[in-house]
């Protein structure tokens, strides 16, 4: 089955255009996804900066933003409707245009064929169509910033009726384009998902049974399944929302007999699995990296796989925990509270397995390992605080407060940024054939780790103090005024967190040209992507490898070194040979 794709015979014959732009090579497509994701990460980060400035120093000019024309901003001052737009687009961009392109688009595409010993994705042209659909979607989203009325401003969750009628927000085409951009984005990742599943099921190298798959592939596979099963209802919802706006229907408008809560059910039926669509690949990167730099097998491979599947299944049964105070029947709360809190069981298994992997290892601390440990520790805080949100009575108070903001940044930032950076530092040599600079990487890690916590940990306190999400000016409330020193502290932390990414940008670009040339296996790792040159040739492998063992055979007594690549044949030992 692994031979279903023949090696491309005309690699060098492809022109510049087919090699770098309209390429069907999964590695080039992965880099395109990465570029799209990193571009939007900068935009999303700048939006966060605008938000944080306004919250710390309400209605003062945001430094560096004086150029934004009226009526969006007034001499750099953030009007409330602009603030709502910034909040909305920050969330939309980070979830749909940073997390998914980087974690699934870039690393799913790059790693699935390389880690399973295939020459490319099952459907390379469909793969190209996926990334270009995402590019079109990105363009639509970008245009939405510049239409009259500005971009969408009804929150990334777009609750109708606020999102369903232009008069409620003053946003006309911005919201329509938001819906269209998301629909295109979903189409892109549906096509990508088809490739992920087909490739993983059909194109594994000989000997690569399901339980010899690297965990990253299990995570990508599960994420693709979750996405494809959950996104349908939301696409239907998006079409209905667009019809409400453009065609005068009333799916979500009560004056025409519609039901606003219907959207929330459709959105969160997708929205909760979507969290794991993002989480799993981020954790997958850490699960690859921890054994390599502990020189130990991953602890509990099978429990991790079963937990991943269990968490995926449970994620379809928890969506209403986003709706405890929404006015749904109170009797629904406890069943959803119980399923939600039960999700801590599979994730506890994964976290404990990661910790146990460190036990009696021989741990080294290069940059990818630091970010993998960052993913783990930050996720622990995110996971634990999720219990507060999942408990229906506790949620009465903390729902829609900064407690929730802190919680989901601890989970999602853990996956997107700590997991994403871990993946970038770890696989950069394979992607670009050069090593990244280690000292710059360490500076980047410590700035990110310290300032991330300085920004988001105090938000739990803000949430406990009752500060609501999505308000533009906390000083409008007497009970929030004593919290303002925290808001200022957080904003300073956020600016430093943003500046802390400069070493990464420099490192990423500088290493492309000047980085030390990477060997094919610089980390002495076992999985198949390290058996081919860095960067791999167009069809990845000279000869399709044959797999003899699982991916995490580090410090095995059967191997002379402390690693044992998946494709190395078992050699007769001298004792038995004689």
């Amino acid at each position: 089955m692994s031979e279903s794709i023949k090696p491309h015979a005309h690699d060098e014959a492809l022109g510049l255009w087919r090699t770098y732009v309209f390429s069907t090579d999964h590695k080039t497509i992965a880099k395109q996804y990465l570029a799209i994701g990193l571009f939007w990460a900068i935009v999303g980060g700048l939006l966060a900066y605008v938000m944080r400035w306004q919250l710390a120093y309400p209605d003062t000019a945001v430094p560096g933003f004086g150029w934004v024309p009226e009526p969006s901003m007034v001499g750099g001052i953030v009007p409330p409707e602009f603030y709502n737009m910034v909040v909305t687009m920050h969330g939309t961009i980070m979830v749909f245009f940073v997390a998914m392109p980087i974690l699934l688009g870039a690393f799913g595409n790059f790693l699935i064929p390389l880690m399973i010993g295939a020459r490319d994705m099952a459907f390379p042209r469909l793969n190209m169509l996926s990334v270009w659909t995402l590019a079109l979607s990105s363009l639509v989203l970008l245009i939405s910033f510049f239409v009259p009325g500005g971009a969408a401003a009804s929150g990334w969750t777009a609750y109708p009726p606020l999102s369903a009628k232009a008069i409620y927000t003053g946003v006309e085409w911005g919201q329509n384009l938001w819906i269209i951009a998301l629909a295109l984005e979903f189409a892109s990742f549906l096509m990508g998902g088809i490739n992920f599943l087909t490739t993983t099921i059909n194109m594994r190298a000989p000997g690569l049974s399901l339980f010899r798959l690297p965990l990253m592939i299990w995570m990508q596979f599960t994420a693709a399944v979750l996405f494809m099963l959950s996104v349908g209802p939301l696409i239907a919802g998006a079409v209905m929302l667009l019809l409400d706006r453009l065609a005068g229907t009333s799916f979500f408008l009560p004056e025409g007999g519609g039901q606003p809560l219907l959207w929330q059910h459709l959105f969160w039926f997708f929205g909760h699995p979507e969290v794991y669509v993002i989480m799993l690949p981020g954790m997958g990167a850490s699960l690859e990296i921890l054994p390599v730099f502990s020189r130990k097998p991953i602890f509990g491979y099978r429990p991790i796989v079963y937990s991943t599947i269990a968490a995926g299944l449970l994620s379809f049964l928890v969506w209403a925990h986003h709706m405890f105070p929404s006015g749904m029947d109170p009797r629904l709360a406890m069943p959803f509270s119980i399923t939600t809190i039960l999700i801590s069981v599979p994730f506890a298994i994964i976290v404990f397995a990661m910790i146990a992997t460190l036990w009696r290892g021989s741990i080294r601390f290069p940059t990818p390992m630091l970010f993998a440990l960052g993913t783990l520790t930050v996720f622990i805080v995110g996971g634990l605080t999720g219990i507060f949100n999942g408990s229906a009575p506790a949620d009465i108070y903390i729902h829609d407060t900064y407690f929730v903001v802190a919680h989901f940044h601890y989970t999602l930032f853990s996956a997107i940024f700590f997991g994403g950076f871990a993946a970038i530092y770890y696989w950069y040599p394979k992607m670009f054939g050069r090593m990244m600079h280690e000292t710059l990487g360490k500076i980047h890690f410590w700035m990110t780790f310290v300032f991330f916590n300085a920004v988001f940990f105090p938000m739990f306190f803000l949430g406990a103090g009752g500060m609501m999400r999505r308000i533009a000016n906390p000083l409008q409330y007497d009970f929030l005024k004593p919290l303002q020193p925290l808001n200022i502290f957080i904003t300073i932390g956020a600016i430093l967190l943003f500046l802390g990414q400069l070493p990464f940008v420099v490192n990423f670009l500088w290493s492309l040209w000047a980085g030390e040339k990477a060997a094919s296996n610089p980390w002495a790792a076992n999985t198949l992507e390290w058996t081919t040159p860095s960067p791999p040739p167009h069809s990845n492998f000279e000869v399709i490898p044959v797999v003899h063992r699982g991916p995490y055979e580090y410090s095995s007594p059967e191997a002379p070194e402390d690693w044992f690549p998946q494709d190395r044949p078992v050699q007769a030992r001298p004792a038995t040979a004689g």
Binding site: P79, Y168, F299, I338, V345, I380, L483
Partner: protein, 275 residues
């Protein structure tokens, strides 16, 4: 549509006597105990909700120190040392995976504790609606709370109904029931000091209740993004002592003779019930 004007750097002051507002103690700044930041609880069921918050806080706090402590310890103990190879262990056999499965059973037990204790509190707060001593209808719109009082006859839809914008008055120690409606988008009726939050959904009437335990003035922010005036959409709850409440009633509905003077204050659309 009403446009709320936000003054630069300042707060929009609404309601009576803001000087009486209760809020988080300023000396909490720098306090590392997260839940000491909770605003003062003045609700009969607020203690139950806070007890759930504390239960989860202590359980998750213990796990936080346990797991992070273990990680730091392992990173220190098992850092790379020459001549000390890593141990080859997979954790796939039952006796090895017990190291992760036993803590998971503890996690499950604690989960169930939180769930069952949570179910009791939820039942107490949401599961039943105690008989109301006072009733008001609260209609949210961009960007105000319109609060309709039934007046001395206790009946809505009669001539002595009175609408006050952003001002909710209740007596202390009495069950207040609020019927929540919205004219436009979803809002969220939030009383931080009473541990009450309930979304207000257009097209529906949702009942909420509370019983305040301490007189004072408390803020009623909107907790759901509702448009450009969301930030600053805030009303005031005045909890009166028994005597004070009588005085407020007398002041507000002085006597039948002078009722014509108040007619302008009566809402034109009190029985705005949708089919």
């Amino acid at each position: 549509m009403k446009r709320v004007v936000l003054s630069a750097g300042g707060s929009r002051i609404l309601g009576p006597d803001p000087g009486r507002l209760l809020h988080v103690n300023p000396e909490n700044a720098g306090d590392l105990r997260m839940l000491s930041w909770l605003p003062e609880n003045v609700s009969t069921y607020g203690g139950d909700i806070d007890s759930i918050l504390y239960l989860i806080y202590y359980i998750t706090g213990a796990w936080f120190f346990l797991t992070l402590g273990t990680i730091v310890l392992f990173l220190f103990l098992y850092r790379r040392r020459e001549g000390r190879p890593a141990t080859y262990v997979h954790g796939n056999t039952l006796d090895q995976s017990a190291w992760i499965l036993v803590p998971v059973v503890i996690v499950l037990g604690l989960d169930l504790w939180i769930d069952f204790r949570g179910a009791e509190v939820w039942e107490a707060v949401k599961g039943h609606m105690p008989p109301a001593d006072v009733r008001v209808q609260l209609t949210a719109k961009q960007f105000n709370w319109e609060i309709l009082y039934p007046g001395p006859d206790g009946q809505f839809g009669t001539a002595d109904d009175l609408q006050l914008d952003n001002e909710l008055h209740v007596p202390v120690g009495k069950v207040a029931r609020v019927t929540l409606k919205s004219k436009d988008v979803i809002h969220s009726f939030f009383l931080p000091n009473l541990r009450l939050k309930q979304d207000v959904v257009p097209g529906r009437e949702i009942e909420a209740w509370f019983e305040a335990t301490k007189p004072g003035v408390y803020e009623i922010p909107c907790a759901e993004l509702c448009g450009f005036g969301h930030s600053g959409m805030v009303g005031h709850l005045t909890v009166h002592s028994a005597d004070d409440y009588e005085a407020w009633l007398k002041r507000t509905w002085p006597s039948p003779q002078s009722s014509s003077a108040r007619l302008s204050a009566i809402s034109g659309e009190p029985e705005d019930r949708r089919p």
